[in-house]
Symmetry: C2
Subunit: 294 residues, 2 copies
C-alpha cells in the first residue's frame, strides 16, 4: 500500500467502527444520537485513530485489537470540539465546513452529545478484551485516556487556554498549554496503540515522546494556518486568533519564527521514530502534518 492508500484505509476502518458504535438508536434518544453522529461522522483527519492503528502495527499488534481504542480516542476528540464550539467557549458557528453541533441542533443537545461522547469511550474500550487485549492492558488504556484527556491533560489545557486568553504567557508557558491541549490526546492515541499490542515500556516511552513533539508542532502549525490559511480549505474562518487577541507562536515569533519551531519539533519527532524498524509511514505522516494546508 502507498502512504495515501494506507491513510485512507485507516480512515475507513475508523469510520466504519464509529458508524457501528452509533448504529443502535433507541426511539426516545434519537435526537441525542443524531447530534453525536453529526459531529462524529463529519469527516476530519482522523489523526488520532491513525496513530493508534499505526503504533499498534509497529508493536506487532493486530488492527482489530486497536479498533476500540482508535474509536474511543476519536470520540474524546469530537467531544472536545463540540464543547469547545459552544457559546460560552469559542462560540464557533462552523466546524469542518458545516454548522457546529449547537448551531445544527441546539445548545442543550450539543452539551449532552459532548457529554455522551466523553463517556462512551470507556464502555467501548472494554471490547478490546474480546479482541485479545489483556484486562490489565485494557485497564491501563482506560486510565491513560482518562488522565490525558482530563483536568491534568486536554481539559486542563482548554481551561488554561480560556482563562489566559489575552494574557501574554511567553514561549515556555504557551508550549505547556499546547502540550496539555493537543499533545496529551495524541499521546493517549499513540500509547493506547502500543498497549493494545501488548508492547513494553520502551515502546510506550517512544510513543509518549513522539506524541508530545507532534502535538506542539501541530498546534504551532494551527497558529500559522490561522494567519496564512484559506477559510474554504480549513472549513472555518481564519484570523480568529488575532481577532480574539490570542497569544500564539506567530504573535510571539512571527510566521518564519513559528515555522522554524514547528520544523524543529517535527525533526525531533522523526528522530524518535528511528526507534522502530518500520517507521516509514509515520514519518511521512509527521511531515505531511507539518506541511498541511488545513
Amino acid at each position: 500500500m502507498t502512504f495515501s492508500e494506507k491513510l485512507l484505509h485507516y480512515k475507513n476502518i475508523t469510520e466504519a467502527g464509529l458508524e457501528r458504535y452509533t448504529r443502535f438508536v433507541p426511539k426516545k434518544q434519537e435526537k441525542l444520537f443524531e447530534a453525536m453522529k453529526y459531529s462524529l461522522l463529519a469527516g476530519g483527519k482522523r489523526i488520532r485513530p491513525v496513530l493508534t492503528f499505526e503504533f499498534a502495527r509497529l508493536c506487532g499488534g493486530r488492527e482489530e485489537s486497536a479498533l476500540p481504542a482508535a474509536c474511543a480516542v476519536e470520540m474524546i476528540h469530537t467531544f472536545s470540539l463540540i464543547h469547545d464550539d459552544l457559546p460560552c467557549m469559542d462560540n464557533d458557528d462552523m466546524r469542518r465546513g458545516r454548522k457546529s453541533c449547537h448551531r445544527q441542533f441546539d445548545e442543550a443537545t450539543a452539551l449532552l452529545a459532548g457529554d455522551a461522547l466523553e463517556i462512551y469511550p470507556f464502555e467501548i474500550l472494554y471490547d478490546s478484551v474480546g479482541y485479545g487485549v489483556s484486562a490489565e492492558n485494557t485497564l491501563k488504556m482506560v486510565k491513560l485516556l482518562a488522565e490525558y484527556a482530563g483536568h491534568m491533560g486536554m481539559i486542563g489545557g482548554q481551561q488554561v487556554d480560556t482563562q489566559f486568553e489575552g494574557i501574554p504567557l511567553g514561549e515556555k508557558e504557551l508550549t505547556e498549554t499546547y502540550r496539555l491541549k493537543t499533545s496529551r490526546l495524541l499521546q493517549a492515541a499513540a500509547c493506547m496503540g502500543c498497549l493494545s499490542a501488548g508492547a513494553g515500556e520502551d515502546k510506550l516511552k517512544i510513543a509518549f515522546e513522539y506524541g508530545d513533539k507532534l502535538g506542539i508542532a501541530f498546534q504551532i502549525t494551527d497558529d500559522i494556518l490561522d494567519v496564512c490559511g484559506d477559510t474554504k480549505e480549513i472549513g472555518k474562518p481564519v484570523g480568529s486568533d488575532k481577532e480574539n487577541n490570542k497569544e500564539t507562536f506567530v504573535s510571539l515569533f512571527g510566521i518564519e519564527g513559528a515555522k522554524e519551531r514547528a520544523k524543529r519539533l517535527t525533526r525531533q519527532a522523526l528522530d524518535l521514530l528511528d526507534g522502530f524498524a518500520d517507521g516509514g509511514f509515520l514519518k511521512e505522516l509527521t511531515v505531511e502534518l507539518l506541511n498541511r494546508k488545513k
Copy 2:
C-alpha cells in the same frame, strides 16, 4: 453503630476520599480545580457512595476496596448537576443552598469542571486494583459506570427530559425517563459495590433491581417535594416543575397518587433486600429516602 452513625461514617470517608482526589493543584489549573472542588465538596446526601459501600459490605468486601468506586460515582453525579444547572439546561442559580457552579465561577469554567469530573472517575477506578479488586472486575466497573451514565443511561435520560419538557408522556414513558435519569446511576453505585467485593451474578442482580426501584421512588419523591417541600430545606426554589410546565407523577396522579406509587416502589425495593442476610441498614436508608424532606 446506629443507622445515623453509619450514614455519617460513610459520608465522612467519601468526603475524605474526594478531598484526597482533588488535593494536588497545578498552578495553572487552579481555577478549574476550585470549581471542581466547589461542587464536589458542597455537601449533599452522598447516597450513591453510601450504596457502593454498603453493597460492598453486604457482599463481604472491604471499605477501602470500594472507595475508588464510591468517589467515582459521586463525581459523575456532581458532573451531571453542574451541567444540568447551566443556562442552556435548567438555568438554575442555586444548588445545595449556595450558588450553582456557573454562578459562582463562569459558564466556561463550569462546563469544563463538569467535563473534568465526568472523566476523572475512570482514572480513579484504576486504584481499585491496588486495593485488591481484580483487573477483570475493575474493568467491569469501568464499563458499567460508562454505560449507566452515558447515552443509554443518565445522559440519555437528561436529553429525553429536556427534549420532551411540556409534552405529556404518560406514566409508562415518564417512568422510563426516571429510570434513565436517576435509577441508572444508583444501579451503577450499587453494582460497583458488589463488583468491588468480587460478588457473583446473583448479588449483582439484586443490586440492579434494587437501584431501579429506588431511583424511580426517589424521583417521584422529588416530584412531591417540588410541590410540598420547603425552599430553605431543599436549597433551591420549589414549584419549578409547574412553572416549567413539566409533567410529573404529581401532575399525573395528584400528591396522594404519587405518594402511593413511591410507597409501592419502596416496598418492592425493601423486599429485594431480603436477598441479603444483613440488610437492615439499607432498609432503613430506603425508608428514610421515601420520607425525606429535602
